[in-house]
Structure formats: C-alpha cells, structure tokens
C-alpha cells in the first residue's frame, strides 16, 4: 500500500512541557485511521503539526513523498491536507456558500459559477443544500460541524483530518456525520479521525493509533486496541 503521510520522530515542546516525544506514524492512501487517547495525550498537537498550525517541531513530516515540515499551513492545504476544527470555526460573517468559496478561491484558484455548482453538490451530499445562503452564524451545532467538513472538502483534499467532529452531538447526528465520512472515504480520500466517541471510532477505523502523554502506546485494528491493557490503563488510570 502506498504511504500518503509519514510522520518521523516528531517532538514538540511548549516551553518546558513536552507534548509529543518522538511520534512515528505511517498513513496509507485511502486508509481510515483512528487516533485516540485521553485528554492532553497530544492528539491535537500532533494534528496541528501535520496541518501546519505548528511549524516549530523537531522531526520530519512527509506528504506524498515530499518533505512538508517547513511549509506553512496554507501551503499544506494547497498540497492536499485539509482539517476540521474541534470547536467549529465558521467564517461567521459569510453565508455557507461563501464559506466554501474561500477554499475554492484560494486552493483551486477560481470562485465562479462552476465552483458554486460544485459547492452545492458538496452541500447536497451533506444535507446542507437548503442552508447554502444562510449566514453561517445561524447554523445549529451539527450543521456547523457538517459545514466544517464541507469547507474542508472544497479544498479538494487528499487527506482529511477530522478533529472531534462529533463531540457533543446526539446519537442520530453522530451517525449522520459518520455516514458523511464514510462517503468521503469512498471517494478515495484518506481520513484521520480523532474522536472520543468510542463506538464511532471502532465502527469507522480500519486501524487505530492510541496516544498517551505524547507517545504512541498502541497501534492495531479496533479489536486488538479494545483488548489492549495499555489503552485501558491510559483511559481509566492506574
């Protein structure tokens, strides 16, 4: 299987605190990878290093064979890495459509009627078509989460990182978002999912990586992870 993302020995420190101490990950093209770990284990820090929110880490990150370690976030987005945020960050003064037109304009280079059509297709796939011209600060929580994913899609990513997209959603809403992610993966997009909702992660992931205190403590299929005593200890404490 082809490797789309390679994280090599990444170390990230904040002053005296080491958030990541030598993380190694290989992500395969088209894979559905789950990333779990207790609060503070370094999941979001790892994602921030991959997406380019942080560029001052040690180690290297390769995407599609190229070293992207020194690239800024917007340059990585242009190469094909997209992400959603734990707490949705809509462009609140813009409509849903305008939100999507931003990545169309800056990643794809065009924001004309063709792109608006494409945007509508994306929104239809998420069940947001009827909200296309509503101002984004009027959306409900689950709609905001979907818009985050729609906006990430508008950047035509090869790798999508979903950062706790389902946090705080009801059972039905979780399934809606899960369906969307499955659908995106079928289109060939590699997906890394960070989630606390275990059923969702188990259902979705082909492989799961568990982080604790900045280190990977376990890696494997959902079945093996669930039985792993390290994982249980990390979540439940000693």
């Amino acid at each position: 299987m082809e490797t789309i993302l390679e994280v090599n020995n990444v170390v990230k420190q904040f002053g005296g605190f080491t958030a990541l101490s030598g993380v190694n990950v290989k992500v395969h093209k088209g894979e559905r990878l789950g990333l779990i770990g207790p609060n503070g284990s370094g999941k979001t820090t790892l994602i921030n290093c991959i997406s380019g929110a942080f560029t001052d880490y040690q180690g290297a990150i390769h995407f599609n064979g190229q070293d992207i370690s020194k690239l800024k976030a917007h340059e990585r987005t242009k190469r094909g890495i997209a992400r959603s945020f734990q707490i949705p960050r809509p462009f609140s003064s813009m409509t849903v459509m305008e939100n999507l037109l931003v990545p169309f304009a800056f990643v794809g280079g065009k924001d004309g009627p063709e792109q608006q059509e494409e945007a509508m297709t994306i929104l239809r796939g998420m069940g947001l078509a009827d909200k296309a011209f509503v101002q984004s600060n009027q959306l409900s929580q689950v709609e905001l989460r979907k818009m985050e994913l729609a906006r990430a899609m508008a950047a035509k990513p090869k790798l999508l990182i979903s950062d706790e997209a389902m946090a705080g959603l009801s059972g039905n809403e979780v399934d809606e978002v899960l369906d969307i992610l499955f659908g995106l993966n079928k289109l060939g997009i590699t997906i890394i999912m960070i989630e606390h909702i275990m059923q969702a992660v188990m259902k979705f992931s082909e492989r799961i990586i568990c982080l604790d205190a900045g280190k990977i403590i376990c890696e494997g299929t959902p079945e093996t992870i669930v039985k792993n005593p390290e994982v249980q200890r990390a979540y439940l404490g000693d």
Binding site: G15, S92, S93, N137
Partner: protein
C-alpha cells in the same frame, strides 16, 4: 564624553523612575497581561486618578491619603467597566477584537477630552511636605517625592505579588488567564474572578495616579505617552509576569534617564516606544512571559 558621575546619577535616578513606571504599569499587567483585555484606556484612567487626587487634595489631605481613599471608588469603576466590557464584547463572538479595542480607545479619548474641558490644558500639581526638597547623600540629591513614589511602588508591587501567590482569589486570577475550564471545575466563577482582577487593576490606578501627580505636574494629554511607558513595561516583562514588571520598569527607567541626560528630554517618548517595538520584533513574549 559624559562623565561617569553624571551617568551614575542618571542611573540612580533611573532606578527610582523605573520603580515608579513599574507601579504605574501594574494595573495593565493584570488587566492585559493576565486577563487579555485590550485595556488601552489604562493610561487614561491613570491620569483620571491623578486629577481626582488633585481635586481631593484641595481639601488639605495629603495626596497619598487621597490616592488610598480613591482606591475603593476606582475598584468599583473597574468592576463596572469589566462587567460592561464582558457583557457587550467578550460574550458575543464575531470580531470582538476590533470592537473591544475601539471601545477602550474611545473611552480613553472621552476621558482625556472631558479632563481638558473641565480642567483645561494647563498642568496641575499637588503640594506636600515632601515635594520640593531632596535628600542629599554625598554629592547626590534624591528628590523626596521620587523616594516617596519609590516607596509606594515597592509597597504596591510586593502587595500584589503576595496577593497573587498566597491568596485563593489571587491564585485564581493567575489561573483564569491560562485555563478557564479548570477554574470552572474547581467551582470558581471565571467571570467573577476576572471582574475582581479588573477591579483591583483599576484600584491600583488610583494610587498610581496619586503617585504620578506627586512625581510631577500632570496634564490631560499625558495619557498618550503613558501608553508607551506602561505597554513597554508590560510587554518587556512578558504577559502574565507580575515580578517581571519590576525588572522591566527598571530597564525602562534607567534607559529613559540615561537617554534624557545624553540626548535631551525631547527624546524621552522615543525610548519607551522604541523599546516596545524592539521587544515586539525580537522577543514578543517578553523577558519572563509564558
């Protein structure tokens, strides 16, 4: 070349001046450094404190006493201001950055213009037994008013540092800037804590304002140059560092004093603002910041 003697005197004076600048910046260190409020109106409130001290001292009270008496009043003003700021700006999302900044900028201007309309543009001073004479040690003369300000400055800084490290509320204030969530879990109300902090910051301004008018004459437009001095101290110290404020104040005080002696008083404003820009360029987290 400048004589070593004059330089030494400038440095000594700079130490006194620096402690004064540190004390005057304490309120900002709390409001902006700890609470992240874009409190550009801080210098204006400082000058307001000076003018209130001026008014109150007309009753014959010593200016320091006036400053102390004004502290509870300013505490309430601070609480009201923060409450208002919080309800109007921090609560709502969208571009609160611009609105909050514009709000405090507007308040600063309103205060300044009102002071001009009421008191005119002339300088105001207060009188006290210690203003006008100096302590002479050997060849050096230390104006008593500077020593008094120095004393108050040390007192205030020590008081605040102890408060923030020893009391529950004080430590909560330090924590709220870094992790509101944890504070909530402990049962403390972050908004009330921030309100308290802002009240303290503004109360400190009352005493600092008294110090300002003791040290020298005051005029309404002085808030403009104090934007430079106070923000310089806070940025130099690093956001969130109380003890760093004293060190930063000393650096600024000595720098300004030496520059004034060598290049002249007209270069004074450039020192604080220049130092500020320098820090922002090379080390924005300050000397001791988080």
């Amino acid at each position: 070349m400048i004589s070593i003697d004059l330089l030494f005197e400038a440095v000594l004076f700079g130490i006194l001046l620096g402690c004064f600048y540190a004390a005057v910046s304490l309120g900002l260190s709390v409001a902006f450094g700890l609470l992240d409020v874009p409190y550009v109106a801080h210098p204006a409130l400082l000058i307001l404190g000076s003018y209130f001290t001026f008014l109150l001292s007309k009753t014959g009270l010593d200016p320091i006493i006036c400053g102390l008496l004004l502290m509870p009043v300013f505490y309430l003003i601070g609480i009201a201001l923060y409450r208002f700021y919080y309800e109007t700006f921090e609560r709502r999302s969208s571009d609160t950055g611009v609105r909050g900044l514009a709000f405090f900028f507007g308040i600063a201007f309103i205060i300044e213009v009102c002071l001009i309309l009421v008191f005119g543009v002339d300088q105001r001073t207060v009188s006290a037994t210690y203003i006008g004479s100096s302590l002479e040690i050997g060849e050096y003369r230390f104006p008593y008013r500077m020593l008094v300000a120095f004393g108050i400055a040390i007192f205030l800084t020590t008081l605040l540092t102890l408060y923030f490290s020893k009391t529950f509320n004080g430590r909560a204030i330090k924590a709220v800037g870094q992790d509101e969530g944890a504070l909530r879990l402990m049962g403390a109300n972050p908004v009330k804590i921030k309100q308290l902090a802002f009240g303290i910051a503004t109360a400190v301004n009352a005493l600092a304002g008294a110090m300002l008018i003791i040290v020298g004459p005051v005029e309404p437009a002085m808030d403009r140059i104090y934007i430079g001095r106070t923000f310089c101290v806070v940025v130099l110290a690093g956001l969130g560092s109380m003890s760093g404020t004293l060190v930063a104040g000393l650096i600024l005080g000595i720098a300004e004093s030496v520059v004034m002696m060598t290049l002249g008083a007209s270069w004074a404003p450039a020192v604080s603002f220049g130092l500020l820009l320098l820090m922002l360029g090379i080390r924005p987290q300050g000397l001791f910041g988080r």
